[in-house]
């Protein structure tokens, strides 16, 4: 006797039913989950609103699941609040940071991170990710073309081109991309390139239960973020709320030095460094031309000195 199967999954039945939803993926699923139709040629990104993050790490898990990323070995209990992930790596493309700012509740009570207003305590959580910079240091540094800009304006490593030279690693101004010692290639968040191609919302954004991570076209996200910051400041009394990674907004932190808009940007409530982000990074490739010119000028000087020394004197043949 053959194994019984549910009738819905019999291929012939699926075809017979025509557009039966169970016969294949839902077309343009992102429209249902994020209200966004994913189309090539548009600029997509993440808005990560840290005031909504509850530190559940669903984004970390969803990312690992979808991208088949292994756990970090060995597992270490860091003692740094609830953060045992510590950093983004070749196999960790979302990382939830936990900051405990001690808050004094009253004169006789011990300072604690969980005091503070009902809206937000001194316990800050932030899901970090590759920023998918408008001008990406890693991409500009890559000598093989393994790092490229996709039709969604995201920055992705092609593992079948990468030869593991490792130059993108120190180039990244945010310490995101990393080499994997197992396969000898560089890896980082792809903004779920494969999912976008299939019309799906990226895994982390879809899994986020509080909408702290929002996916969409960059102009929409910018508008939404500006509204959110205004509302945080005016209605929720969070005067410190600001945008990190948006040019022209709140000092444009993170977008400095030629980097431009970060396509994955953040609503923060404390200085960037508190979340392990630089306040004014710069694009490494800006140093190429002045460096080369200085080097060539030096060697021109050496050549002139050598010419004088070799040509001068009385020992001509």
């Amino acid at each position: 006797m053959s194994t019984p199967v549910w009738p819905e999954f019999v291929p012939e039945r699926g075809r017979a039913l025509g557009s039966d939803a169970l016969s294949g993926p839902i077309i343009d699923e992102a429209e249902l989950t994020a209200g966004v139709r994913v189309e090539a040629g548009q600029t997509y990104g993440f808005l990560t609103d840290t005031t909504l993050c509850i530190g559940c790490k669903a984004c970390e898990v969803a990312c690992k699941e979808w991208n088949a990323l292994p756990a970090e070995e060995p597992f270490v209990m860091t003692g740094n609040s609830y953060d045992n992930t510590s950093q983004l790596s070749a196999t960790t493309w979302r990382h939830v940071a936990f900051v405990e700012k001690l808050v004094q509740a009253g004169a006789h009570e011990r300072a604690s991170a969980t005091h503070g207003s009902a809206f937000q305590s001194g316990w800050l959580m932030m899901s970090d990710v590759c920023k998918h910079c408008t001008h990406a240091g890693c991409l500009e540094a890559c000598p093989t073309g393994a790092l490229f800009r996709t039709e969604f304006d995201t920055v992705v490593v092609q593992a079948d081109i990468c030869n593991g030279c490792g130059y993108c690693v120190p180039a990244c101004p945010f310490g995101v991309v990393a080499l994997d010692s197992n396969d000898g290639k560089a890896h980082k968040c792809t903004l779920c390139y494969d999912r976008l191609k299939g019309g799906f919302e990226p895994a982390c954004a879809k899994a986020c239960p509080t909408n702290s991570i929002q996916f969409g076209p960059l102009p929409d996200l910018h508008a939404r973020a500006n509204e959110r910051v205004a509302s945080l400041r005016q209605r929720h009394g969070v005067a410190d709320a600001y945008l990190y990674g948006v040019q022209g907004a709140d000092g444009g932190q993170g977008t400095t030095g030629g980097i431009g808009d970060l396509q994955a940007f953040f609503v923060l409530t404390d200085q960037p460094e508190v979340y392990n982000l630089p306040s004014a990074p710069s694009l490494p490739s800006r140093r190429v031309r002045p460096g080369l010119l200085a080097g060539l000028a030096t060697m021109a000087g050496v050549a002139i000195a050598a010419a004088v020394v070799f040509a001068a004197g009385s020992e001509r043949p």
Partner: protein, 334 residues
């Protein structure tokens, strides 16, 4: 707790101590995330330090050989030949070191897949490729000229030698750009000085190597004197640039990795003392107008050693500076 700035903290009746509540002058210099690195360090190690040294020396040797050739003195011909052979030897060793350092060495050829002018590594790959090819041609012509005493091959070597020397000038300096065009604080803080320092260090190393490679007889003495004078000039410039680099690091409070062992030992003994000692010997030889016996080769060896140690010190100190979040934040601050 009242806000020193006079404004109420925004979090309702309870007060939150944020960095923004503290006047700028009283704020800690940097706040970090549990002291965890804000940047990733480069994965490069000794292979790359050796490449920086050998590639730089080969490049500078090609420049010196070509200038000596164009100056046209017959007495300098042994120097020209040795410079071209040294350049070829260096350009043969270099790719081996670089490919061995790749994490996927079988795909080394992808380095020549594209030209990307924003990438110092891409520029370097093409520089090494052209330098190797041109050095091979120049050395072959030089060998034919040496073997057959045929002037035509000497002319060919001289013609090929010019583009080879231009590529050599890049070889001697681009590795400084390679480091500076990253986000590593120690390297990125001196984008112009680092290539200059590497170029001068390459020149000192090439002069030292050529001095050691010249024939030992009396005939080579005038050539050696000229190399001594060049070594003196190059060494003086190197000491001046090194001081500038170090003071730039200290001024921006990025020099801490230089004061940690074992980098500290390499920097103080290998780089500073080594450069100074070979400089003094060269100065004595130039001013005295005569050879100081075994001190001459010793000065050449010290120049070579300090050139290598300089690359190692800069490389490893930089890797340490990348994982110091306070340095990273200090660099990335308006």
């Amino acid at each position: 707790m009242t806000d020193p700035g006079g404004e109420r903290a925004p979090y309702g009746r309870r007060t939150v101590a944020t960095l923004g509540d503290v006047p700028a002058a009283q704020r800690p210099a940097t706040s970090t995330y549990y002291g965890l690195p804000a940047l990733k360090p480069s994965d490069w190690g000794w292979l790359i330090a050796v490449y920086f040294f050998i590639g730089g020396m080969a490049g500078a040797a090609q420049v010196i050989a070509q200038v000596a050739d164009l100056a046209g003195r017959k007495a300098d011909r042994p120097l020209v030949a040795r410079g071209r052979y040294l350049a070829l030897a260096g350009s043969l060793v270099s790719p081996v070191l670089l490919i061995a350092d790749l994490h996927t060495p079988s795909r080394w050829y992808n380095m020549l897949r594209i030209v990307r002018l924003t990438s110092a590594m891409s520029i370097g790959s093409w520089t090494l490729f052209s330098f190797g090819t041109l050095s091979g041609l120049a050395a072959t012509a030089q060998a034919l000229a040496d073997l057959h005493r045929a002037p035509v091959w000497r002319t060919v070597a001289r013609i090929v030698g010019t583009p080879a020397a231009v590529a050599g000038a890049l070889m001697a300096t681009y590795t400084g750009v390679l480091l500076a065009a990253t986000s590593t604080p120690l390297w990125a803080s001196v984008p112009r000085l680092l290539p200059t320092l590497f170029g001068l260090s390459s020149t000192s190393a090439a002069l030292g190597a050529l001095s050691l490679l010249l024939p030992h007889g009396r005939s080579a003495q005038p050539v050696r004197r000229r190399l001594d004078l060049l070594s003196l000039l190059s060494g003086l410039a190197e000491v001046a640039v090194l001081r500038q680099v170090e003071s730039a690091w200290r001024r921006r409070a990025l020099a801490e990795p230089l004061d940690q062992r074992p980098v500290q030992l390499g920097f103080r003994v290998g780089v500073r003392a080594g450069t100074a000692a070979s400089l003094v010997i060269h100065a004595l030889q130039v001013l005295g107008g005569r050879s100081l016996g075994p001190l001459g080769p010793a000065a050449s060896l010290m120049a070579l050693a300090s050139s290598f140690i300089l690359r190692a010190v800069v490389l490893f100190a930089g890797k340490r500076s990348a994982v110091r979040p306070e340095d990273a934040f200090r660099m990335a601050r308006t």
